[in-house]
Subunit: 368 residues, 4 copies
Amino acid sequence: MAGSSFGRILRVTTWGESHGTALGAVLDGFPAGVRLSPDMIQVYLDRRKPGRTKIATQRSEGDLVEILSGVFEGKTTGTPISMMIRNTSQHSSDYDALRNCYRPGHADYTYDKKYGFRDHRGGGRASARETAARVAAGAAAACFLREMGIEICAYTKSIGPVSVDMAAFDASLIQTTPTCMPDAEADKAAMAYLEKCIQERDSAGGVVECRITGLPAGLGDPVFNKLDALLAQAVMSVGAVKAVEIGAGTEAGRMRGSQNNDPFTAGENGIEKRTNHAGGILGGISDGSPVVLRAHIKPTPSIFREQETVDRDGRPILLTIQGRHDPVIVPRAVVVVECMCALTVMDALLVNMTAQSQNIIRFYKQLY
Amino acid sequence: MAGSSFGRILRVTTWGESHGTALGAVLDGFPAGVRLSPDMIQVYLDRRKPGRTKIATQRSEGDLVEILSGVFEGKTTGTPISMMIRNTSQHSSDYDALRNCYRPGHADYTYDKKYGFRDHRGGGRASARETAARVAAGAAAACFLREMGIEICAYTKSIGPVSVDMAAFDASLIQTTPTCMPDAEADKAAMAYLEKCIQERDSAGGVVECRITGLPAGLGDPVFNKLDALLAQAVMSVGAVKAVEIGAGTEAGRMRGSQNNDPFTAGENGIEKRTNHAGGILGGISDGSPVVLRAHIKPTPSIFREQETVDRDGRPILLTIQGRHDPVIVPRAVVVVECMCALTVMDALLVNMTAQSQNIIRFYKQLY
Amino acid sequence: MAGSSFGRILRVTTWGESHGTALGAVLDGFPAGVRLSPDMIQVYLDRRKPGRTKIATQRSEGDLVEILSGVFEGKTTGTPISMMIRNTSQHSSDYDALRNCYRPGHADYTYDKKYGFRDHRGGGRASARETAARVAAGAAAACFLREMGIEICAYTKSIGPVSVDMAAFDASLIQTTPTCMPDAEADKAAMAYLEKCIQERDSAGGVVECRITGLPAGLGDPVFNKLDALLAQAVMSVGAVKAVEIGAGTEAGRMRGSQNNDPFTAGENGIEKRTNHAGGILGGISDGSPVVLRAHIKPTPSIFREQETVDRDGRPILLTIQGRHDPVIVPRAVVVVECMCALTVMDALLVNMTAQSQNIIRFYKQLY
Amino acid sequence: MAGSSFGRILRVTTWGESHGTALGAVLDGFPAGVRLSPDMIQVYLDRRKPGRTKIATQRSEGDLVEILSGVFEGKTTGTPISMMIRNTSQHSSDYDALRNCYRPGHADYTYDKKYGFRDHRGGGRASARETAARVAAGAAAACFLREMGIEICAYTKSIGPVSVDMAAFDASLIQTTPTCMPDAEADKAAMAYLEKCIQERDSAGGVVECRITGLPAGLGDPVFNKLDALLAQAVMSVGAVKAVEIGAGTEAGRMRGSQNNDPFTAGENGIEKRTNHAGGILGGISDGSPVVLRAHIKPTPSIFREQETVDRDGRPILLTIQGRHDPVIVPRAVVVVECMCALTVMDALLVNMTAQSQNIIRFYKQLY
């Protein structure tokens, strides 16, 4: 209830501060019998890791995951999977000056108001580093979903004013371009823009788009646990995300019904939609089309310009942030969005097994 | 878990289909000692009621709320508040033709895929009528919050291409204009646009904006239950909402850090922010500024034009929808967004009481 | 969270006070496609109904259930099943004298301490009448379980000093004897004992035993949600229950390991246990043997003798309770225990579907 | 949902297998500002540790706790407290012979049925070693409760046929006698009995009693989350517990109402009960008297006698268990019961803060 858990049947609980001993995730409700190894998780963590390029922080965080429980002889046992990532590259002294300072765009002030004090080193629990635990957990979910034929693919859609040309979409670029854009031209332009931001001691925002394919129709629950509602919670809960769109998203508000409605049609594999303004979800339940969502991400709040702010006692101060900070969060958020979607979809898939009595009865008849 | 409940300490469970006997809400965890009467709830339900104007459906739904439990001698008792609204004006036969038909933009197909069959009358549980129960519950929360000095105010920000001029903002118009716009000019233009939609047997979408004022800093929880994440779930769970923005929202993705960061400053009542791009939430926790969010709403899927679609067996059919349908959902969604925000904020406020040990100890010392 | 909900996938929320307008239950997560009618629920409610015999209160509570949602054309739709029972036979004025009085053995004092005031009429939410809503919900679960071949059978095991002779066990008597004892001799003796209690203006306690048969092995979850742990919560949550035993129960504490261990053996239908001291549960998971539990129930606290107590202000008073009260709660609790077990077991069965990845994959392959 | 989490506001999640790398607990919702160190936790873990005496296993488990997050400069931060205990003394090869064998009284068979396979080493997740994580989490709760003036004290009430003489109760003996009995005579007799069990290659069961004092009246929630219901779940979830009693417990079923009712009276500190058959809980809510409960614990299932059982394929085998096993679980369960009660009570205390609107309003007025 206090905020560090997510999911219903598949339930992840994360813990850890940016400059503490370690951070981790406990994944309960994960089915038994799934092949899982630290290597399979590490692939995802490495995509989140900073230090690959000029636009990512120069910290060489090892981010090596250990699996402490729930896996036996290479397979999940059905009991909680505990994963831990040690903090190894923390320069806590970088933050000494921030102990009593409220950085603009950060959670320093709000944590102090909520808890009375805070672990000020590196943002503590409010650090973007917290997302490493989400990625570890989400990677396990993504591996399971892949076995089910469900693929989740996120990428950078835009950075500042530079947007991907969807006609030039090349999925193979997502994991190789520094911006995680699936378009080499846009990547180049975005990098130039970020270079300019760095020179001007400023930062940029952008958009991550995520497509979920192979999803059967029928996932998601009515009313409050609609699939889009839970995806919105999942994605908005990632620090720095300020808007979430599903399908046509904000555009839907400007469309006519005759444009926005997706006609049903008889496809080769049964009923399909001719268009996908709905983004794969109708009435909160997946409709068999790809689920499409976008997360809008604010610019990195840690900028190297002098900023006006106040200290704990409300006294005005001039702040110049030191340390290592990405000029843009977006590329590193790509895998985080992917992993949050994986956790949400896998949970919906498990919950959905209990929707129809005839399926339940058949399920048990086959077992006993 | 199955989707009809929302909240942690304050937990609402709704039930009911569009054309069933009744629909309702059970509100558990509501504190004892709050003055509450059916009249106080009815005010909110009446704002949601159709039939007030040309652009709302001509059904004269009574939507009279009964309080069945949890209130004794005019005050809440701390036990579940059960509220019921009888369905009185249903023309179920309007829907006979839709029994085997999958309407574009509706949840007919996805409910059938999930549950194997469905109550096809009026959309059943997927009907917008479901929101009446949310409003009943949210109204109780709004009444409590008002006693705490917290006000929630939503309004129509745009319909189709017509947007409110925020310089002309007049809150008194929200509950009197047919569009719920706080700007008489914009209201007039929007009504003209809707008139055109009706003539063209089409429908329009739009945007609802909501401002929450008087909120203390410190509400919301880290990581998954961030205040913005739960608001996103709450608002995205309202049927037809396709995007949710907090503060600068999608604009944040195009801003520079130096623009987006809100400088802290020493105000009369303590620490304040000079701007509010954050929308009143930093790190998932309220910062004392107004919380600002926007819901983007798709055009009414029920349009009177002939549409291509398929039936249950995948056979192509031409569909012409009959019955009574609003050309725009937005104005009736205003109070729904307001009520979902009230439930979310009140829950965050209750959860927040347990954040600091010194406050807990003082709380109990004063009682015992 | 506030206490009126139970279950994970199958989640029941109850509401209502003894002397309010009505009471009811909302059952969310119940699978679609189950045949369900008010008649099927009523059978269970009638077993709980007072007024059948001398030892049950003379109130002719109608206890007629209405199904308000979630059932369409005789089958469940998968959406919340809302059930309501109107209060028709309340003599609220019987309770006027108790407004400021704290009855021994009742929750008057504790509700006042928790909530600041209370609905004093008939015990309000703390009344045994609250269990009618549990029975309505549990009846639906029991009907589903019966389709799965799982039977739940509770009966009175003892009243005061009179115990059933298990060698004389006759299941057909459970629903016909006034005590719900499956043994005509014991029933007669218990009735004589109760007669004496009435004459002495006193009351008696007793024990309900419940057997769950047809349960597959594998239901229940490790650690905190062990099947026995959830059954203990479910049964202890019934007012007046002061102890819960599983299998050998309290006797297990006095046994040796060599006596208590149940040897496994190869039976006709696979692996079986030769004895059942475990009560059908090992490590919190069902083992295929019948689940056996016992609930120990205190004597009715409302007795007609003069009792010493205090009023709201702590002033000593002499209390003589008026009205209609059973000299024993046990027979009416039988169906309540049965229904709480049904809710718990059905939930465990639904959760268990997601335990093994190979079953999940096969499940979806068969559907798509 | 999957079973490894407990609590509402204060929520513990445990993980880890007996012979895995480590086991641990994540405690979310713990208030900020509580002084907490590994030493304070270690005191509790040391009470659970085996190897102190002849009747406890000779494994020298280090059981050293590390706090990995949630504590900064000696105080809790309000974010999840992650605690880990490495497994250091595992002799996994002791279990090779048990890979395909179903030990009587153990969960080998049920885990295989649920999950399809299992980590057979030392019982895996079903091992009593799992309780170390409960103790780590519960110790933190107990430390907080002590600051609130609430003390939880458990002790061995009986082992096999030997019971404590409550007239000889000496609390100082609980942590010094090998049996954890508060009575030196009974301790001696119990030790002699256990000696005999060992000689006969057998084991014994017993009873743990727990008293919770200093609890304010008003904790606990109506209906399903009654304080006694949650305590019953908490305690029954401890492996080997087969019955839970509150107050008069099983005795209540044999009492008359006139005996069982506890008269209220005006005490020095306000309203009190003259007796405490209720065990400190009325209607599921604490009444200000000590909460008293008993857990009945079965004899250790691992006995050194030859036992009949079957293997995975249902073939009869003769089993002789090797390794290190206590002849009685009871003394090591004492601190586990204490810690489960601490978690339950602290959670109830936090939830209770939101019961009355006037207290909520005053709380916030004092803060802002």
